[in-house]
Amino acid sequence: MKIISVVSGKGGVGKTTISANLCAALRNKGHEVLALDFDPQNSLRFHFGINPSDEGGIVSSGFQSSRWKESIIKSNDGCLVLPFGKITESERSNFEQAIATQANLLKEQLHSLGLSPEAYVVIDTSGQLPFLKQALSAANLTIVVNIADAASYTTIPMINGAIGQYCEGRSDYVGSLYILNQIDRSRQLNEDIADIVSMQVGAENIALVHQDQSIQEALACRTNILAYDPNCRATQDFSDAASKITEVMSSIYQASAKRNSF
């Protein structure tokens, strides 16, 4: 199981949209994919065409792995989806207390699901600290989502600090991929920040998702961008990003398998 935590230091950068469409792109490449909504907003499910009246999810299932399994829904595009679930304030409080006190709760829950070693788990992570800690502690790869503007850029050091604290140094941690979302090449600031971040993190560790109205239209039609418009720019962007992910993850997986064979 390869766990990818999608995080950002700022809200409203399109984390959920990126998570959902990356799941679709990975699935489109033939991988087994579980999309996990780890955000009380509970909105990831809408990208997978799940009925809005279906309110089950991880929180209402508690922390029994068998109940998490029961909450998994298979979407039309073949992704497995585990929604956060609709909850009351007291349920939310209990859940937040549990994840604040048990450091590796999410990681343990995911490993108890019995997914194949090749399966990808993509976690759409809330910006709240207890959620962030859990998702980072479980991650093999982090995807840092930003918009190419100043407000978003200023949060990169903060999120890098969190990644440094909870991910780096772990033998099962691969690294970070930075996604700049809603890129508009006609804007100088967008272009400049893309250049700066690219040089900071390395061109191989950055992926761009261009501004594309089809992304919003796909959500409104309860589907993903690949199914909605296979030939648009954003579809190509998500496909490229998925290729980068599979390339680095398979390299690590093979390296790990080689080491274990000795």
């Binding site: 200023t154 099962d172 691969v174 690294g175 400049d192 250049d195 390395g202 560790n205």
Partner: protein, 161 residues
């Protein structure tokens, strides 16, 4: 599939670490980008720019992460930049042999204040820049000369090898 550039292959031929090769033009562009946006430059002053370590190198050394701080192996490129500067300035650089051996940090070897750079090169002198940006400024100002010397130097070493 990502292809190596000719220069990177040249580094290979002369048994240098090709990972130390960096695009000067890219640095120049980033420098210009930072000059346009003061807040972005200020953020970079707090958390300096980091040169990436290519994924392949990281995979071999450690699976822990893809991104690393600026590697000290980038000495060969910095040496030629320092050499190019010496003729026009009084900046002292450490012994070349020590740098090749990886003993000295290439960036600290060239003494220049960030303030001086800001006064001299930026249209908005209020912006303070960090040492990394100073390095980029030097690269920008001496690019043509440095680039030609770099290639010449590489070919000299190629001949010797």
């Amino acid at each position: 599939m990502k292809q190596k550039s000719d220069v990177a292959i040249l580094f290979d031929v002369i048994s240098e670490n090709p990972d130390s090769y960096q695009e000067i033009v890219q640095h120049q562009e980033v420098m210009k980008s930072l000059e346009r946006w003061p807040l972005i430059a200020a953020i970079n002053q707090i958390t300096p720019l980091e040169a990436p370590v290519p994924r392949a190198a990281v995979l071999i050394s450690s699976p822990a992460k893809m991104i690393r701080p600026a590697p000290k192996v980038a000495v060969s490129e910095t040496i030629f930049i320092a050499e190019a500067l010496v003729e026009k300035t009084s900046i002292e650089i450490p012994d070349k042999n020590n740098e090749i051996a990886g003993e000295a940090s290439s960036i600290e070897s060239v003494e220049i204040s960030a303030k001086a750079f800001a006064d001299e090169t930026l249209s908005t002198p209020a912006i303070e820049v960090n040492e990394k940006l100073s390095e980029f400024a030097f690269i920008s100002r001496n690019n043509n000369r440095a680039a030609s010397e770099n290639i010449s130097s590489l070919f000299e070493r190629l001949k010797r090898s």
